[in-house]
Structures are given as structure tokens and as C-alpha cells.
Symmetry: C2
Subunit: 450 residues, 2 copies
């Protein structure tokens, strides 16, 4: 077997066998196939696509290239959620304890913010003392204890994906559905999940800007998961405006605590806007996890269980237990509620009277990069205490001068740039304008193979 | 400027600027841009194509990457011909002395056989003493003296093409029209030609199997040449059966001498079949060169001059002078005429009565590789004295058992494999069958920008 023939075959749009994909991935990892052949292959895949079966072979090879997390000492069901990334997307921080409170085990390996999108690890690390560099033994112990654990990805999990992703990043082959699919699925299945629920976002603040692209990715995730004999569901959700009412690292932790009915949050930030868009998306995704795990017969039934776990405080109890287990200091965390803000404050006022028709999520994400909430490059540091608070959401009636958003940053310059960037993404229409994408319209489509 | 952005732009089907292409080629040659980015770029070009202007920028950069041949001490016009390669294609050996006899200067840098196609250098080297490794000074002197010279490509001419071609060869990106075009044009213009005439072959024995593909390449060659301000003509010719009546290294020299009316050839191999397909293609291509060089007003007028140069012996006189100038020994060459044959002989007989409808050129080319006329890989040696003689051509009436071809090789095994391979490509139809592609139907189309 020769790598050249495999590249040629894919270039011609032919379907590769499991053996051919295994040959290529193993050869790339062991260094016997040079990167220039692999990058030509990746570009051919970009143009010629892969079937769910081919994508499944690729995923399987990437999983087998490294260590997988052993959760066999625990009883499942092990179900995780993955989001394709958005602005204000703190769903994981709420969903994991809710799912755990309902009886699932959630082995969650998360990433860091990059570009305009936030990262769960950066958010968690704004909790004083919280560690996201768990050993796999400690990861398993905490899952056993709290029902969920949150950690960064270990370097010996899916090394083939790390190597391939690094090559894709410098060869303009990131945006390929089968390559995205295999990268996501390999990481998630290697961490020990039996089933996965995907939040595939679409809109200006998402990786997939159009519903068509998002649907293609969702379809590939579900079909490839099925080809691997795994349960997968995918929910297409809107990402035109930021999700919820806070964007930033600690600001999102704060909002998550309030959503989880944390008593200290309800006392210390009582005037927080409770955003139904965030709640609805989170409940729906968690409900799919319960169905995937066999803990509910229907998604609606499961959604009732999730709401109950929030209302009765059991979800928050799981979160608090997890914070302690992962080294966090709840008392120090509570002290930060409502007070942990970078020193330079700014506001984004309404430019006129009417209906707020849009707050562009991409603009807010890029504004966050100026503030230091996110990163331009993977090695940048982030600030935990910067970001935005949305006092108004699309659909609200506003008068000229009303404060739409508060902004916090470390320098006048950063705040000015962030305000300018975000301001350009704020649109106001005539009184009476109807706005799409309200809290009850966040879910665009659902696909599943359960 | 970043290589990644250029790869991305081409991947998205955008048109690159001269500066972007220069950045990429120079960076690749100087090592600042890694091969994995260039191979991704090449694959993106395979799928997204390039305009003639982009292909022209690429060609210009490849020319400028190395030394160009300086013919300024001579007076032109300097016109060369390039063939995309075929079986039995000894056109260069006849065309160069004819063009020189008509008043052109032909600076010809040729290649070696590879795969099923022959190479001019291998053929020339079957002439005792003939050298194809001329210095560029000697190359220019011989052009001044004989009107043409034939040499291999110097390693300091178009180093970018050498480096890019080596990468294309291992990344399944050889078969891309703009990449083929820039590779051919850069080599030919770097050798000092003012104008070029292309023989773009199509059919089983050609690189471009279909007339559509051949037309695309011809169009790209002409349009790109025009974008570089050069005169280019392209002639699409048939390559379904071998061209002429001999295939092999010395065998093709022998046929070329006969075509040039070399007196010794007429005496020593008087019964050679004189093939009008070969003559017609050669005359037409040479005529286009004369028109490109301003030595004739029309192609038909030019063709008359070419035929006259053959008939009056002036073309042969040029060839003999060139053989001496390049170190060849005419007397030793004449001794070989009709006698220089590898020891094991075989034949390919007609399997039945009827009309010979086809002799598959690709099968003959591959049969030649078994004999050692051609090469499987670039480092194989070739035999000068092996090959095929076609006693019959498609369109001829044959009876069962008639010898269609003679075969010469060095081992029984090689001859057996060659016979089996070629036999499978010989087809005989019912009496009265008409066969396309006769000597007067060799030219399919002509394109020019003169």
C-alpha cells in the first residue's frame, strides 16, 4: 500500500477502505508518511468529502492512536455534550451538574477560548483554586463522587488528532466536515462517553455561519457516530446574539451559578437578568442526554426532570461538590459574585428609540478578544474579570441612551476598542418590529440516532 | 503576506495576484515556506484551476528562479517545439533539422523516456558518440553552426519547477492543467525560445486520453503564452496507434534518418515502410514553427518549404552536421542501420483475416518497457537496440498469420511479455471496416496566438 495511491484515490472522489485510512493515519503518526502527502490528502478530502463510514474509520484510527480514559470502575451511563462553540456559551457549566443530578455520569473534557469563542476551561479557572489539569485517575474519582468532572484534554489522548489538527491549521484544511467530525468524535469517545449530544450552533457567532452548513455537520456527526455503533443526537441552535446575559470568564460563571439557583448568587446578584434563551438551550441539550442514557422516554419528559433538578437545588449541590472536589474555594467564589470586575468600565448605549433587533455575537466575541476575555493565539493569557453584561436582549424596546450593555476591561484603550466593535453590531429597528430568534425559537432542528 | 492565506484563497476559488504567486514560489525555493503548505496549495489548484494570467505569473516566477540560456550572441528567430509525449514519437529528430534548413534556430532541451512514452535523449544516445550533456556555451555554439542543438536540461534552469515537480509527483498533483502548463512553458522559455509550437497528443498512448482534456491543455498553453507576451501555437494530434513504423531508441533514429532522406538509410534499409502519419504530423508542426518565426505567411506555404528541405537534402545535411558537432560518429551510425537489433526476435501475427483496426499505442509503450526501450522508474537504464517494427498500420487489410510487427529484445522472457502485451492491443475487424485516424486525419485541431 502506498500513501500516494490513497491520496490519488481520494482526489478522484473514490471511497477509501478501513485499511487504507488506517495505513495513512498510522503512517502519519509513526512518521513513515511525510506531512506533505498528508496535507495533500487533507485538501483532497476538503474537496471530495468522506462518507460516514470513511469518517468512522478515521475516527476509530484516531481513538486507537492513543490512550482512552478507563471509566470501567464506575457504572454509567456516561454521556457528554459538545458544543461547536459560541459567544456567551456557558451551557456546559449548567448542563453537567443538572445531568449528574438526574443520574448521568458526565466525563467532560473541554477546551480553551480561541478567536471570538469562549472556552470552558478559562471560565472554570476564574473560580478561585479550581483545577482543570486532573490526572485521569482523579478525573474518574470525581465523576464517581459528583457525577461529573471537567478537565483539559490529556496529551496522550488521540495524538493523531493533535498531529492532524496542527497540520490542518497551517494548510487551510480546518473547514472540512468529515475532518471536523472525526476530530470531535475521536476526542469525545476517547474520554469514555457511551453517547454524545451535540450543540451545533449556527449564525454570525458560530463556526458554521449558515443553517445549511450546520445541518451538514450535524448530519455527519450523527451518521458517523451511528457507523461507529454509538448513540448520537445533535441539536441545531441559534448563535446570532450572545447566549444568555453575560460574556466573559468569571461573568459567565456568575450567570451559571444564578441559573443553577445557587443561593449565594441569588443573594449577591439578585438583579441579574435571567435569560430564557440560555435556559431553554441548556434544558433541551441536557434532556437529550437523559434520553440517550435511557433515563427518560421522551425529550419533554426528560426536560421536566432537568427543571426539577434545578428547582430543588440538587443540581447546584452537585456543582458545589464538584467545585470543592476540583480544588475550588466556594467561599472565595461567593466573594467574587457581583464584585469581580476589571477596573475600567464602559457602556454601550442605544443609539435611538425603537426595538433592539440584533446584538451581533461575532462582534461581541471579537470585542471580548480586545478585553482579554478570549485569545488571538493559543499562547495568549486571558483575563478572568473582563467582559460584557447584556441589560437588554434582541426583541426588547429601547429608548435612545438606554444602556444596552456594560463593559469591563483593564485599559481605556481596550474598553474603547471593545465598545466600538460591539456598537457596530448593535441594530435598532422601528417600534413594532418583530425579531426572530426569541427564547422559544433557539432550537432550529434536532437529529438523532439513539 | 502568509502562505496560509494564499492556500486558503486558492482553496476558495479566488484569483491570486502576481505578488502572491511570487511570494509562494520564492518562499518554497528558499525553504521559508514548508512543503506541506505547498502540497496543500497544489491540491487546491488541482480542484480550483488557475486563470491564464495566474498560470503566467507562476511560469514567470519559475523561469526567474534560475538561470536562463543566453542566445543573444546569435540571431534568431528561436523557435522550439514541445510534445506532450507519445509512442513512436520521433518528430523532434526530423523537425529540428528541417526547421533549421528553413532558416530557424531551434534550441531544443529534451527529456528521457518514462513510463510508456519515449524520450528524445535516449534515442539520440543510440547514435554512437552522440553527447546530450552540452554546456550552455556549447549548446549556443552548435545552434549557431547547425541551426539547432539538442541537449538535456541543465540543473540550474528552472529549479523551482524541479522542486515543484518532485513534490507534485508524490502528492497526486501531477495532472493539473495550470501546473502542467507552467512546468512546460517555464522550461521552454528558459531555454531561450521566442515562440513555441506544441504537439498536444490525445488518445490511448497520450498523457491526455480524451480530446477534451487535450484541448484544455492546448488552450491553457496558448492563453498562458499569450499572457506572457509570447507566440504560441498548439496542434492536437492523434496518439491512438504508435506514430510512424518503428518504436524503440535506435529503431526510431533509423526511421528518422529515412524520413530525412539520408542516402545511407535509403540504401541500407530500403524496404522501410515510409509512414505518412509521421510525415504529416512532423511537417505540420514544423510549418507552424516557420509561421511563428515569420518565415512564411501561411501554414500551407510553410509546409511546402519543409517538404522541399527534406527533398533537396538540406535537412539531412543539417542533421549530419549536428551529429558530428555533438560528438556522433556518422560512419558508426550507418553501420548500425538495419543491423543494430537485440538478439531475441519475435513477431506479432494477425489473429485472423480482415482489416487491422487498431494497434493500441499504450500497449506498445508498455511492451517497450518490458523490452527495456523505456523506463519504469527514472533511474532504470534503457537498451538502445530493442523495440518494435510495424509492418502493417491500422486500415491495412491482413490475413491470419501475417506478421503485423517484429519485436526485438534481450531475453526470451522480455520478448514474450512484450508480445503478449502488444498482442492484446491489436484489433482486427471484418473486411471492409473503415478505420478513423488515417495519415490525413492526424491533426484534430489547431490553436494559436501568433
Amino acid at each position: 500500500m502506498r500513501a500516494l495511491d490513497i491520496v490519488m484515490k481520494k482526489r478522484q472522489g473514490e471511497i477509501l477502505s478501513a485499511e487504507e485510512i488506517a495505513f495513512l493515519v498510522r503512517g502519519y503518526v509513526d512518521g513513515s508518511i511525510p506531512d506533505y502527502q498528508v496535507s495533500a490528502f487533507l485538501m483532497a478530502v476538503f474537496f471530495q468529502d468522506m462518507t460516514p463510514e470513511e469518517t468512522g474509520y478515521l475516527t476509530r484510527e484516531m481513538i486507537d492512536s492513543g490512550r482512552t480514559i478507563d471509566l470501567s470502575a464506575l457504572s454509567g451511563p456516561f454521556i457528554d455534550k459538545h458544543s461547536t462553540g459560541g459567544v456567551g456559551d456557558k451551557v456546559s457549566l449548567i448542563l453537567a451538574p443538572v445531568a449528574a443530578a438526574c443520574g448521568l455520569k458526565v466525563p467532560m473534557m473541554s477546551g480553551r477560548s480561541l478567536g471570538h469563542t469562549g472556552g470552558t476551561l478559562d471560565k472554570l479557572e476564574s473560580i478561585p483554586g479550581y483545577r482543570t489539569d486532573l490526572t485521569s485517575q482523579r478525573f474518574a474519582e470525581i465523576i464517581g463522587q459528583c457525577g461529573f468532572a471537567m478537565t483539559g484534554q490529556s496529551s496522550d489522548v488521540v495524538p493523531a488528532d493533535r498531529k492532524l489538527y496542527a497540520l490542518r491549521d497551517v494548510t487551510a484544511t480546518v473547514e472540512s466536515i468529515p475532518l471536523i467530525t472525526s476530530s470531535i468524535l475521536s476526542k469525545k469517545f476517547a474520554e469514555g462517553a457511551d453517547a454524545l449530544v451535540f450543540d451545533v450552533k449556527t449564525g454570525s457567532g458560530a463556526f458554521m455561519k449558515t443553517p445549511e452548513d450546520a445541518r451538514r455537520l450535524a448530519r455527519a456527526l450523527v451518521d458517523t457516530g451511528e457507523s461507529l455503533g454509538k448513540k448520537v443526537a445533535a441539536v441545531l441552535t441559534r448563535m446570532e446574539a450572545p447566549l444568555g446575559s453575560k460574556v466573559g470568564n468569571f461573568l459567565e460563571v456568575e450567570e451559571s451559578l444564578a441559573m443553577l439557583n445557587c443561593p449565594e448568587a441569588l443573594t449577591r446578584v439578585p438583579n441579574d437578568r435571567r435569560s430564557d434563551d440560555l435556559l431553554n438551550v441548556t434544558i433541551r441539550l441536557t434532556a437529550w442526554m437523559l434520553v440517550a442514557g435511557g433515563l427518560a422516554g421522551t425529550v419533554d419528559e426528560a426536560a421536566q426532570q432537568c427543571r426539577a433538578a434545578i428547582d430543588d437545588g440538587s443540581a447546584w449541590a452537585r456543582m458545589e461538590e464538584n467545585i470543592r472536589a476540583q480544588g475550588g474555594d466556594p467561599a472565595a467564589l461567593y466573594e467574587r459574585l457581583g464584585t469581580f470586575r476589571a477596573p475600567v468600565a464602559g457602556t454601550i448605549p442605544a443609539a435611538g428609540d425603537g426595538v433592539l433587533t440584533g446584538i451581533d455575537a461575532y462582534a461581541v466575541g471579537m470585542g471580548g478578544v480586545y478585553l482579554g476575555a478570549g485569545r488571538n493565539t493559543a499562547t495568549d493569557d486571558v483575563h478572568p474579570d473582563v467582559g460584557f453584561e447584556l441589560l437588554r436582549k434582541p426583541g426588547d424596546t429601547v429608548a435612545a441612551g438606554d444602556v444596552i450593555m456594560n463593559v469591563w476591561g483593564h485599559t481605556d484603550e481596550a474598553v474603547r476598542q471593545a465598545v466600538d466593535t460591539v456598537q457596530a453590531g448593535v441594530t435598532i429597528g422601528e417600534a413594532g418590529t418583530t425579531v426572530d430568534g426569541g427564547p422559544d425559537e433557539m432550537i432550529l432542528e434536532e437529529l438523532s440516532a439513539l
